[in-house]
Symmetry: C2
Subunit: 403 residues, 2 copies
């Protein structure tokens, strides 16, 4: 078959391996940036062990259903329209699981973006208590404070598995919920898109100079980085992107990936489809709960929400992974031109990104603290990732058509 | 830094991309192997929509706690010892979530391997009903029928995200539960290890001939493939591997990855640590439930088990990802020599694997059906994976130390 992707999937050169060995030995055993995570795991182990003993000895304890399972009817406002069935659908999976687990005593009614408040006002509605919770992307609120970006995705950040791991075991949940507390918010992970695409362009982007003056719709914090390269970033809601791109008000637009982008129709008006979305190696969604409402729940309902959110987290990424390949096939067979950002463009974007991290860190201690946590975690993760995961994926990409 | 991994992470060559475009167009729009998955998604959407309407109209329905939440005390036998705290710990996370969600009405007591039955007899204990459920690796039972292997991992199969996606949206859960029904078992996903390592060897494995006569401890179905290359596969339980390797009764052993392998102490007696574990690009764990017991549960408890399992699925992989990097650092700084299986060895193993798939498929229709489903899914997944995910990971592996 002609679609081997040889450029990126060279076999590991035997000569490289001893270098890794030398590096590891040179670094030696040292205090790991994961020490905190390990401490947490140990504490959790002790807790679980205690809980296990508790189970054994409290087997005859009377359940107190009345107090622990009050009848509740909450409203969830989504930042997403119903047409984006994977993002929006995650909330439905979540609400359904909560209702089932409580025999309909705890009901969460899901409203699409705009039905109660606009999609980008979801967090404000939660903060003020006008709804109990929302389903949103934390980075929509980076204008309030760029620290919000770490909840969803930051340029050259983690991939999807790493973000889950950082959140649960790398201190991410603790750091972010400490930060969200300032906004009267408690966050639970809701799902992930996986690595996103770099977006749709009316003209080819061949070199760094092609970015100069480019009007580009981009979500979240990455617009700040692109500004350094001359891009004029545009914040435009999902439904308004197509007409802007069609009229030429903007020159390009990124959304998510093949499945969602195809629904928005960009392929009809912008032939070049770039990858990777270096500003979204993954994108994690969250349920933002009003902190007072979250604290008002007993441990039973808190636990039920957490498990139901894990179900929607699993569901969302699994669905994106399942539906993206066929969508990419359809787009490309319809004439879309797939392009990789050139190494020079990637390097210029990385340089701009690192400058922004340094600048914002110098004046925002929350941002600095979270970025340092994520950066240390990322570098450890990729050191390990390149050994087993990446080598396995490389080999399968090269050989998948050998049957 | 000297640990760049240039061999595997070449930048995408611009000339390759048009080739992909051509391939896609040549293939054209066709009936996708994911059509079935999509149909399922649509059905689920309709179901969710119906459920959503149900929520709105049944808001005043009285909950029937007494019938839907009976007091239950179930026993879970794990195939894993407590010392493997990530595998074993997943069951504790699961049991704790179930107890919390039900205010202790549904209690699942977790027993380590050997406390009720040996680790490899867990499925039998579930089948016979002597315990209600177990936590195990499906491929332990490939001797009963090799179709069991697809539940956990098969050589040159999926990676962790792909396996989750295949299970939920690629027909995996339906195919496997149809098969498990023959053994009176219903399976729910419990967790994943991520891509495993290729194991520990007392001598270097430089070429295919070095495999001849090698006594190698290996779990699951992959021993069948290795037999074709002259390896003498050994099925040895976790606790017995170290003494066998120390005495030279075996020449090598694989277990999971850095964190678990370090606990078993292989680094003290076998200096060469190979990657990748091509027989376990991921390894999915399951809760196997006695089918009659599963069917005896109402929708409330079934839903609670499913959500709690999603929590342990998320927890297990996130923990492995968090703890493996530091373990690898410790191993390598202690003198372990990291080695990649050579391209010639990988190719010989792939060839042997494809022969086994063909041979077993010719005489086992269940096996054939599941392998064809997984193979079609895998090939679609890697076609898409190489575009955004792999390019992103490549770039981060190369540049992660640029700060």
């Amino acid at each position: 078959m002609s679609c081997e992707f040889k450029g990126s999937v060279e076999r590991p050169a035997a000569g490289e391996i001893p270098e890794i060995n030398r590096y590891f030995r040179a670094v030696g055993p040292k205090s790991s940036p994961l020490a905190a995570a390990k401490g947490k795991i140990m504490k959790r182990r002790q807790f679980l062990r205690a809980a296990g003993l508790g189970l054994a000895t409290t087997a005859v304890a009377k359940p107190a259903i009345a107090q622990s399972m009050p009848e509740l009817k909450w409203r969830l406002t989504s930042s997403f329209p119903k047409s984006l069935d994977t993002l929006y659908g995650g909330s439905e999976v979540f609400a359904k699981a909560v209702a089932e687990a409580t025999d309909n005593k705890f009901q969460i009614q899901v409203f699409a973006a705009g039905e109660i408040v606009p999609g980008l006002a979801a967090a404000d509605a939660v903060q003020s208590g006008s709804v109990e919770l929302c389903h949103t992307a934390s980075y929509y609120y980076f204008g309030k404070d760029p620290t919000f970006a770490f909840g969803t995705a930051v340029p050259f950040g983690l991939n999807a598995r790493m973000q889950n791991s950082w959140w649960s075991f790398g201190g991410g949940a603790e750091l972010m919920n400490e930060f969200y507390k300032k906004f009267n918010i408690y966050a639970i992970v809701s799902g992930n898109t996986g690595c996103q695409m770099g977006g749709w362009f009316r003209k080819e982007i061949r070199e760094v100079a092609d970015l100069q003056g480019l009007k580009f719709r981009i979500g979240g914090f990455a617009g700040t980085m692109l500004t350094k390269l001359g891009v004029v970033p545009q914040q435009i809601a999902a439904g308004d992107i197509y007409p802007a791109l069609e009229k030429g008000t903007i020159d390009g637009a990124e959304w998510v990936g093949p499945y969602d982008d195809e629904k928005l129709g960009f392929q009809k008006i912008a032939p070049y489809y770039y990858y990777p979305g270096w500003w979204e190696g993954q994108a994690m969604g969250h349920y933002f709960l009003n902190l007072n409402k979250w604290n008002s729940l007993g441990p039973t309902y808190q636990s039920i929400l957490r498990s139901a959110a894990a179900l929607s987290n699993e569901w969302t990424l699994a669905k994106y992974d399942a539906v993206n390949p066929a969508a990419l096939r359809r787009l490309l067979s319809g004439g879309t031109q797939l392009r990789a950002f050139s190494p020079a463009i990637m390097d210029a974007c990385l340089k701009a990104t690192l400058e922004v991290y340094a600048e914002v860190s110098a004046k925002n201690t929350d941002f600095k603290k979270v970025w340092e946590s994520m950066l240390a975690f990322r570098n450890e993760q990729y050191l390990w990732w390149q050994v087993a995961e990446f080598t396995y994926d490389s080999y399968l990409i090269r050989t998948r058509t050998r049957v």
